[in-house]
Symmetry: D2
Subunit: 342 residues, 4 copies
């Protein structure tokens, strides 16, 4: 049974584990004050070409989302998110648990635009309603789409004009930035968003998200918020070591490129097989629509999510590739489809 | 510079790292539904001789404390803790951030007793005050003391009689249970407390606390709370693998015994040197009172906390040993004290 | 300028003021422990034919909604509400501020049904999502519709089968129960819902909502929640006196009947004038669709909300009648429409 | 049975009721946008000689405290209060329920000083602890003491130097300002504190606290917070009318003077009788220490709180006077004491 279920099925890239082993007995300060965390911050700032951002390393995505949003908003302020946004549907009300409403927007492709956000702003006119204040986007989105430079630039300008904070969930930022269709660079982000994070968990690390805070005003006291939310790792070194390893050369991007390449093979072959896709994806998540009978056959050898029942006898499934996905298995999967259909 | 500053200065016991390496490429389900986490739960239940408890693996102590307390209490209910309790002073208001007051009690030794708690109950008589509902204790405490069986039994009975939940923070449970002065066994705990956790972070793991919920009523839906607080690790396997390694034989206890042994050498030698201690500690944290001049000398070669300025020219310092503490360094520290004083 | 803008434009029915004057110098216990509040509770229980419910008097609607919902739910549990529900759009995120997500449902008529709720339940399947637990309905709804017995009975049965709490916002319960189309009686409610409130603010009182808790399990410690939310009025007598006055005879219902009668005249005459309505309303809120030109004319003499721009040159407006609405003004309003159109 | 139990045993000053009757049928905008609320704000600004403050009228004290503190603080920030402070002990954790810790200070007289606060600041040094941000004081305090100009000035300067907000709970501000020992004027307050409120509930109104926000930064969006906390009264006119009546001439101060005068008679006579007091009070709350036997006798005719058991056979009781306290009853009380003792 091979799994295309998600991008966190395996452990970590061997270099990460090796780095943990190599540094294991060095005594270091706790809570992210160690030299590895410091070094990781420096490396990331270099990669972004920006010295004036703050970098914090946290363990996971939901944790980062809730720490950021609760730190940035005042009690009456709300976040805006696509209905498919992770914070809206898949975090057990984590944001609301910190006191904030999420205003959701129905979208086709999981992406927000100035037009869509404008409508929400227009509906929120006085103190009987929450005040929209932060725009949450994911890149890549939960359904595989990505933001290109122009789209993000437009969003950024709109947000600034309307005093909205722009926050990017980058749990799958590697795959997004390394997508063939992307013209965004890591170094563009501090210009365009107020905060974002670089997902390690789904791109080669054991765990870890590198939060980058770009706007001066949002930096103050941020470590208090991390601690309060239970997100300050005692052995912060573990996060530091991993991000140093990912960014001391090109490892982070290489891993994302591999994930995308594997998805690319799947996409190409499925397209050749005349299968439709539920959404246009240029990243490591694909949502092909397959006949239910074929799906049943594939489930005998492969693990994946059934995403949505379509009309008739078809369903969309989700296939996720990662840094660890084996090309052999991808090819075998394609062969198995061909066999089933022949 | 050798550090006695805390018990999370190093990485993990080599067996833990090896286990991570060995299992790295196995594909596993996410979010704690992997076979390692399952296995860890089974091992722990065996060690406790109880099948009817629930085990959840979380990343850190503050995270576990806030998830547990917010899950167990209704909005108007409060926790009771010693003033020295971690949740009261060193978690940046994490519990209050989930909406609950902590009623603090001044103690000499960091431990709560029925008499101390009774006083708090007597002061809280009606709906203009919070309703005390959960008693939080640490074992070992933040100042090194431990609970013996009789003390915990008394506390347990008092809590049940008064409809109070009893929750034990076991960030340093290993050291407590393996203390020479302790007659408590891991298997006693499910009888005596409603929930507790077994700290891995400070006893050989990279990170990880094994929460044990003993009371039926408190088990329901607990995974929802973990997820909501950002505490559900995507690669939950990492926690599972570590706890399997710690508990598949006696490793967890062996490591705690080592920490205690190192502390024992320090205690014995300092006592011989006629130094006083701020608190009586039978665990891996010692609080000797040293002349400020001696402290200054020691700081040149050793890292440790200055805990409290005493009258005159003395201060109490905190020395912490761990699974990783080297006996050579302990002996060198003692020698250096002797040298300074001679 | 006469206002049909809402049902809280005037003070209180003169009998209420007189009762306040008459009792003004009697010394009474504070915080709802006075004899008037006690008496009001007894009167309400009599009217409902139920001794086993708990009655609490609170100042306002948002206050009652947030106190109830935060008291009834555990942290991971969510409320379900119509998108038009007051808690979802017009309370500045008051419910979310207590930590709970509201799952909203698009409806035509502002009313929830088992079918609509079932869909939400089906979408919430595991701990990565909130757990739907409480169904919030308004009667009458924010757009004037009402629940008849059969509808509420079905909802009630569905909720019980699915372990959902059913909570009715009765800010306009008087008008709903006294509607010509209603076959519901006040005494039916304790059977059918787990908690509800009887709105005084919009039906003759200066302020005040009488919350009725029908389910045993929800009663415990409720006064703690009231106090914690800042909703325990020091001079609770003021609430008691008002509800005694409203319910010592038929005043509450008489006032609602008057409001409905005034709305009835408007409805009848507008229907005769061949105007359409945005929603079917059998209560004291009407949403007729009028030509924008006519609206402009009417605005010179009357105050009301423009609810929604329709296609073309029409808009729906909201007309609200109350216990204080003068028949003369209603007739004048109708005459003015006729004049404008002639 | 005559009650000295508190200052909210009666309704309102007759002029207040009359004003409600006189304006009852005027149609007004809801939610504090009515002309009376506007007028009340203007009157208060005049009395303070300050046009640049914001005035909001809320229903009660706990409500005001929780709305203010949750609006002013970021999630990791804490309030500082005397242990006897209302928010610390008598609001059922209302502040904590909004997510904030209260750092309490033991005091003799219920008052905070720079020295006392400095100690708390010194203990809070890093992100593992909450960040003290707001100083909460009551004037008069919960045990009857008052702040004189110099004390408040010192506190004010200290707070500004240390970036602390200073917030005064003025539930009994009338009595404090009108105390013989007070040299503070209402018009001093906007200079000295960042926000405060003027208590109506305990000084002649049915209910109502006039919150004054003095610092520009704290004013933004405050109505959102009021609404979110369920504190925006639908018929806001009721608050407006009452505060207009209290401040259109000197009524507010006259009522406070009467309360103080009544307390003065009690104080003078009890002092003459050689009774000690638990605290020095210059306001409308007295805490005389009486023999338990005498207390038992008095309880047959008078209602009051037994505050604290003293050593031996004495207890401190609390006597509260108000605008409504009758001089005859005060004299009778004194006579009854004399009779008992003779």
């Amino acid at each position: 049974m091979y799994s295309f279920k998600n991008d966190y099925s395996e452990g970590a890239h061997p270099r990460i584990l090796q780095a943990l082993v190599d540094t294991n007995f060095e005594q270091e300060a706790g809570y992210g004050k160690d030299r590895f965390t410091l070094k990781a911050g420096e490396l990331l700032k270099e990669k972004m070409g920006r010295k004036d951002v703050d970098v914090h390393l946290l363990v996971g995505g939901t944790q980062t989302n809730l720490t950021v949003i609760s730190a940035f908003l005042r009690p009456h302020e709300a976040a805006i998110a696509a209905k498919s946004g992770h914070i809206f549907t898949h975090e057990t009300g984590a944001i609301e648990a910190t006191g904030h409403k999420i205003l959701s927007i129905e979208t086709d492709d999981g992406k927000l635009t100035p037009v869509l956000i404008k409508k929400v702003l227009d509906e929120h006119t006085d103190e009987h309603m929450v005040k929209p204040k932060l725009v949450y986007i994911s890149n890549s989105t939960e359904i595989g789409s990505i933001y290109v430079y122009k789209e993000l630039k437009d969003l950024s300008e709109f947000c600034r004009k309307n005093s909205l904070l722009l926050f990017m969930d980058g749990a799958r930022l590697g795959s997004a930035l390394c997508s063939e269709e992307s013209d965004l660079k890591l170094s563009d982000l501090p210009e365009l968003v107020d905060a974002f994070y670089i997902g390690g968990t789904k791109n080669g690390a054991l765990f870890g998200e590198a939060l980058v805070i770009c706007r001066e005003l949002l930096k103050e006291d941020f470590r208090y918020h991390i601690k309060q939310k239970g997100a300050l790792l005692a052995k912060g070194r573990l996060l530091g070591i991993q991000f140093v390893e990912l960014f001391r050369d090109n490892l982070f991007f290489d891993l994302a490129l591999h994930a995308n390449k594997m998805a690319g093979i799947l996409r190409e072959q499925l397209t050749k097989g005349n299968f439709q896709f539920l959404t246009h994806s240029a990243s490591n998540q694909l949502f092909p629509i397959l006949p239910d009978k074929l799906i049943e056959e594939l489930q005998k050898k492969y693990d994946f999510l059934i995403w949505e029942k379509m009309d008739g006898n078809d369903s969309a499934i989700r296939l996720v590739t990662s840094w660890a996905t084996k090309e052999d298995e991808v090819l075998a999967f394609i062969e198995d489809i061909k066999k089933c259909l022949s």
